[in-house]
């Protein structure tokens, strides 16, 4: 009988690791921010938000009021919004490109 898929996978990995090739898909091909098919900072962000929702005692409007009370100024608020929107937009556009 022929080899099983698992056996072939094992052989593939043994030979590959032995040849000492670099990690692939290689992370350096992702330029500014990672593209959607690989590492994305979005999901950890969503998870952090979700864990905060579970763990923090107060409700969202309360924390929002606290941030407002800090009076950070439009420049800082604007750049914070940009930093939040940037990975989501980049990921979304790349995702569309990937889907098409």
């Amino acid at each position: 009988m022929g080899t099983t898929a698992r056996e072939e996978m094992r052989r593939f990995w043994e030979r590959n690791l032995r040849s000492g090739r670099p990690l692939s898909p290689h992370v350096s091909i992702y330029k500014c921010a990672p593209c959607p098919s690989q590492v994305c900072p979005c999901f950890p962000g969503v998870s952090l938000f979700s864990l905060a929702a579970l763990l923090l005692p107060e409700h969202f409007p309360h924390y929002l009021a606290q941030v407002r009370a800090l009076s950070l100024g439009p420049a800082l608020i604007g750049s914070a919004k940009f930093l939040l929107a940037l990975p989501v937009s980049y990921h979304t556009w790349n995702g569309i490109r990937h889907l098409v």
Partner: protein, 103 residues
């Protein structure tokens, strides 16, 4: 015969991605609990499958793969629970983004 599991998974991934894309204008135009919970489900599933692919690409060896996937399941379960909790007890995802952006 051969198993269609992998190709079904691939199709499922694309389907959820398209669904999530459609939910974005929905969240803007008609916010509410239906969109909130759909977003919670679609976001969690999309992220779970996405990170699963990252693990498949970069993690090797039987035990590390199992450990990583277990951790991923836990993370996704917590994320979904947290998002639903937020939708139920707090203002909900659509409203939260709207409030955040009006800051």
């Amino acid at each position: 015969g051969t198993s269609k599991a992998a190709s079904l998974h691939w199709t499922g991934e694309r389907a959820v991605s398209v669904l999530l894309l459609g939910l974005l204008p929905a969240a803007y135009l008609c916010p509410g609990p239906a969109v909130d919970y759909s977003l919670a489900a679609a976001l969690t599933l999309h992220g779970h499958w996405g990170l699963g692919q990252v693990i498949t690409d970069y993690v090797h060896g039987d035990v590390p793969i199992k450990v990583a996937n277990t951790g991923l399941y836990i993370l996704s379960a917590l994320t979904f629970a947290g998002l639903c909790h937020f939708n139920y007890h707090d203002v909900g995802i659509c409203k939260a983004v709207a409030m955040l952006w009006s800051l």
